[in-house]
Subunit: 209 residues, 2 copies
């Protein structure tokens, strides 16, 4: 506990960094701020992450992505796919602050990917069709979460009383379909939207069967 042993560790650093990110945003994740949270000087972090902030951000991505494949091998394959998607979405939403990092930093979780392939194979897909389906599902989930995060971020707060939806004006001359369907755009909540879209993708992925 003395001067040269503050109990710092890879895990503790990542943990506190993640707390900062999803409490104050990625922008405010700073070496000095992280040091403060860890009761340590900023430069102490460099002993555990010699490549500095870049390496720290890599570790954040890795930590978010490195989960064991949810194992319910008895469940039917389509149920497992839905669980996979829901779990994936939950994890991304819980750490939505690191989403920008996922664009440039690779992850790839073999266990999860293998389980995904397994479920799709059990559904009757073979060979390239499995890989294509997996990629498509992955893309859908990621894109859906990104859109969801953007929506909830730009959707303002129910701050004052009554003030909620500014209802953006849409010109029915220029955009008739948009105007006609405007009501349908506000119905479901985020979770329902995700589930509905997932069903569509799942249906497409098993089209021949």
């Amino acid at each position: 506990m003395s001067r040269n042993n503050a109990g710092l560790s890879h895990a503790r650093i990542v943990e506190d960094a993640l707390r900062i990110v999803n409490g104050q945003g990625l922008r405010r994740l700073t070496m000095r701020r992280l040091g403060d949270a860890l009761q340590v000087e900023a430069m102490a972090i460099y002993h555990h992450f010699p490549r500095g902030k870049e390496q720290l951000l890599d570790a954040l991505v890795h930590h978010v992505m490195d989960v064991p494949a949810a194992a319910d091998p008895a469940a039917p394959p389509d149920t497992r796919l839905r669980h996979w998607a829901a779990g994936y979405r939950d994890r991304l939403l819980e750490h939505s602050g690191v989403l920008p990092l996922l664009i440039n930093r690779g992850y790839e979780n073999p266990a999860v990917l293998d389980a995904l392939y397994a479920a799709l194979t059990e559904l009757g897909l073979r060979g390239a069709a499995v890989v294509d389906a997996a990629r498509t599902l992955d893309a859908y989930v990621l894109g859906a979460v990104v859109n969801e995060v953007r929506d909830t971020a730009s959707r303002p707060e129910p701050d004052a009383a009554g003030e909620q939806a500014p209802a953006p004006p849409v010109d029915p001359r220029r955009h008739p379909h948009l105007a006609a369907l405007a009501a349908h755009r506000r119905t479901r909540d985020a979770a329902d939207r995700f589930a509905v879209g997932l069903e569509l993708v799942l249906a497409g992925v098993q089209q021949p069967g």
Copy 2:
């Protein structure tokens, strides 16, 4: 042309900023660097973007997203959807540097969205199904592009002769499906992968008809 008129303009600033971003990356887009590119001091930009860099980044997103809806009203609706998807992907890939900004900054292009609704309606969808399908397609395209960008970024260069795929080792005991399908994971190029996935989503979106 004197000292108080360097010919700066909203459009020119956005243009040069975008050039920097997709030539050197978002990280290197800096007020001073942008000033240099525009032959101007950094603070000059604040006269056209009073809210500073935040507003500049908003403008970048807006510029990337604000394109007229590709109008080929004679084409069949499914063709129009494919064109929309291809155009969307191209635009995102061309400015892949701004992708991280799309997560937190809203855009929404009414013209494009209306055209999308129109095509889906022509396909036979009605009401909420149109909105759901549009959201699903949007999510797929965005997610697919994000994955594609990550792949091409982490995929190293065919720099020296012959050296290309390090072929990550996969344990066939732990991940049998991954091992069995490894060959299928490297077949198609990025454009094909996108097209194949899009077909799956399109199929799912029109499932009842």
